[in-house]
């Protein structure tokens, strides 16, 4: 044997070093013991030990969402891998670049129903961008190289590498490929110049142009190009839940989020525009509601997306432009700079119409003397953090309120599960984000049901000194479920009441953190100020806000209805 041969486990570690990985989120077990032994003997990346594999994947996912780098998780075979599946599917639905390394039983035991064996590649196939089973120590390095390349290029996504235990013990020389080429995978970067010209001329000559931007802008790091372009053409812009921060929310051209709980003005403008530019967005059901209703209004649609299969999937597109958002927007900006932009008078009329929709003030709510309004908590959070925090969230009403009442001026600040809608992501998302940005303010806006889905991670937060601020909007209900039951199921609140809730203050304290219970509106601001004060700078603070139980999220487009068929708070 050659003296420069190292074990497969060491090869795995060296690959991660080559990829300049800073954090690996994981949990050990039999099939990955060799890898863990190699983790122990290195100090180039930090291993973050979680308390459940689901949280490892979520935390790695948030590390990626908040930095743009590839997140890395390491789990064992069998239950380790199956626990990771929710995290992987969550990342897949939102196109997050990640590499998940899973241990597998030894090659000779595969198919024998060995202890902790499961078909990880089979189970994860429908929720990864790609996956690999490594069968030879010689292939470890090239496979991991491919995994990072596939995860981070084109439309990003999670890639899983399953490595049998015997492969990690065998020895081979380490040789990390400098580059990869896959003949079957060539993502298109540059948009078609003819289409781009057409798109620009349509937008400049539109009477009611509208921009609809999505998560692709954030993932593609194209927000400065988008902002430049939108400001230059002067059109109104809306964003999906995933796209928030891609264009500054404080800009007057911004109409707020669109979709099921979007603003009145954003949804109406989306419906009434004559030329629509969609950038890195996918016209999903929570965004445009019923596609037939949407198409009942004629308009010309331009769609920029890196994934050809996103184009004309739910809505027929007139001008498709396949390419990386940065590249296409840069081309648009270049073309525009050569153009003499004449004052588009129609825009003035268009904004007049929009201002009328705006004047409905659809996000206004009445504060109460006794009951804490959840919207008020989020607004105050925005004030206290001066709009400069990273906000993670779970799934439910609190998620929508966070999106509606915490305007984001920068991309990668809003970290939540849009596509899969996974309850439980909030706390692990805050962990990944805080580790990536140790000096930043990170708040997790959550609900008493969601937070309990990964509550064990309070222990991880203690171990790694993560000073996350948890804003629990505690309405004693699975609020979003209750809201649907109120509207569409005759107030029959089947199993949506959260009985036997723990004392969250004591719970936080039991894990070694600071707990606060806030029951009066007048205590909201002082509590948040204290939590973000220098005194508690190093501490995780769990703020349990006892909120108005029956508050609903408005506006709302009922399932299957169209964009202009919103229910507002006034209607009820």
């Amino acid at each position: 044997m050659n003296s420069n041969h190292i074990s497969g486990a060491e090869i795995v570690i060296r690959c991660l070093h080559e990829e300049k990985v800073k954090f690996v989120f994981g949990y050990p077990g039999g099939a990955v013991l060799n890898i863990y032994d190699a983790v122990f003997q290195q100090n180039k990346f930090k291993h973050v030990l979680v308390r459940h594999e689901q949280a490892a994947v979520h935390a790695a996912d948030a590390y990626s969402r908040s930095t743009g780098k590839v997140g890395v998780a390491l789990v064992t075979s069998g239950p380790g891998a199956t626990n990771a599946v929710t995290g992987i599917a969550t990342a897949y639905m939102d196109s997050i670049p990640m590499v998940i390394i899973s241990g597998q039983v030894p090659t000779y035991a595969i198919g024998q129903d060995a202890f902790q064996e499961c078909d990880t590649v089979g189970i994860t196939r429908p929720c990864v961008k790609h996956n690999f089973l490594v069968k030879d120590v010689k292939d470890i390095a090239s496979t991991i190289k491919k995994a990072f390349y596939v995860a981070s290029s084109g439309r990003p996504g999670p890639v899983l590498v399953d490595i049998p235990k015997d492969i990690t013990a065998e020895k081979y020389e380490f040789n990390y490929p400098k580059s990869v080429h896959l003949r079957s995978y060539n993502p298109i970067i540059k948009g078609h110049s003819g289409q781009i010209k057409k798109a620009l001329s349509l937008l400049l000559n539109a009477k009611k142009p509208m921009i609809y931007s999505g998560g692709g802008v954030v993932l593609g790091d194209a927000s400065s190009q988008l902002t430049k372009f939108v400001r230059a053409i002067g059109a109104p812009i809306t964003s999906t839940l995933m796209g928030l921060g891609g264009f500054p929310a404080s800009d007057k051209q911004f109409l707020g989020m669109l979709g099921m709980h979007g603003t009145y003005e954003a949804n109406m403008a989306m419906q009434e525009c004559d030329v629509l530019l969609a950038v890195g967005a996918r016209f999903d059901d929570r965004v445009i509601g019923n596609p037939e209703h949407f198409l009942s209004k004629p308009r010309t649609i331009i769609h920029i997306d890196i994934d050809p299969s996103s184009i004309s999937k739910r809505v027929k597109i007139d001008i498709p432009i396949v390419g990386h958002v940065i590249s296409v927007l840069t081309d648009l900006n270049d073309l525009l700079s050569k153009e003499k932009i004449k004052q588009n008078i129609s825009l003035k009329h268009w904004f007049k119409e929009i201002d009328q929709w705006r004047s409905t003030n659809c996000l206004s709510f009445k504060n109460d003397k006794k009951l804490i309004k959840p919207q008020f908590v989020v607004q105050t959070l925005h004030q206290v953090t001066k709009g400069d925090a990273f906000i993670t969230s779970d799934v439910g009403q609190h998620q929508m309120w966070a999106a509606q009442y915490y305007p984001f001026d920068k991309p990668r600040r809003w970290i939540n599960s849009g596509g899969l809608g996974t309850m439980g992501v909030g706390l692990p998302y805050a962990m990944g984000t805080q580790l990536a940005h140790p000096d930043a303010m990170v708040a997790c806006v959550t609900g008493e049901a969601s937070i309990q889905m990964c509550i064990q991670e309070l222990s991880t937060c203690k171990q790694f000194h993560l000073p996350i601020k948890i804003v629990n909007l505690n309405n004693r209900y699975m609020g979003m479920v209750r809201q649907w039951q109120e509207f569409f199921y005759g107030n029959r609140y089947a199993e949506s009441y959260m009985e036997a809730l723990p004392d969250f203050v004591k719970l936080a304290e039991a894990y070694g953190h600071v707990g606060m219970k806030i029951e009066k509106p007048s205590d909201v601001e002082p509590a948040l100020k204290e939590a973000f004060s220098n005194k508690l700078k190093e501490r995780l603070v769990f703020m349990d806000f006892i909120t108005d139980q029956k508050e609903n999220v408005f506006p709302m487009i009922p399932n299957g209805k169209g964009l202009s068929e919103m229910i507002t708070a006034e209607d009820l």
């Binding site: 196939r125 089973l133 003949r183 079957s184 050809p308 027929k316």
Partner: protein
């Protein structure tokens, strides 16, 4: 409409299940699917017979192209093509049926590849609809067993699917 889609993909374990999984996960039809290695051992060629509206076929092609193992996709229906399927049928060939089965086999240009006292085993190739027509034409009571390969297809003339 019925479409025949040909694709070349990396000859890797699991590649077939990526394709079949895509069809079931997205609710696309598969009438038949055949796969075998090509003259280049690193590639397999698959022929999928499916049906759907133009929009669905467009999505199928895009989704297939998106699979990392898929190297090239061709919708044969975009141009002229030839389609062949092989069927092996075992039919009754006792005194009552023997002559008729021989005659029908000839009409459909089949070949009898195995004979016993009471049965013929017949090989027929052609488009899937020709094979259907054969089955329609003979007495159902005479059919003992059938096996079909599913359609394979290839473009006419200069239409070539190759890496």
């Amino acid at each position: 409409m019925r479409h025949i889609i040909s694709l070349l993909m990396e000859n890797e374990s699991g590649a077939l299940s990526r394709v079949s999984g895509l069809f079931s996960a997205r609710g696309y039809n598969i009438e038949s699917l055949t796969v075998a290695p090509t003259e280049d051992a690193s590639l397999s060629r698959m022929t999928i017979v499916t049906s759907g509206s133009d929009e669905i076929i467009e999505q199928i092609i895009k989704q297939l192209n998106k699979l990392i193992d898929v190297v090239k996709v061709l919708d044969l229906n975009d141009g002229k093509f030839i389609e062949r399927e092989l069927m092996i049928v075992k039919v009754k060939a006792n005194a009552q049926y023997r002559d008729e089965m021989k005659r029908m086999c000839d009409i459909f240009r089949g070949r009898i590849i195995d004979v016993s006292d009471s049965s013929f085993t017949i090989e027929i190739t052609g488009s899937s609809s020709k094979l259907d027509a054969y089955i329609e034409s003979i007495d159902k009571a005479a059919i003992l067993e059938t096996v079909r390969t599913g359609a394979s297809g290839i473009g006419r003339g200069d239409r070539i699917l190759k890496v």
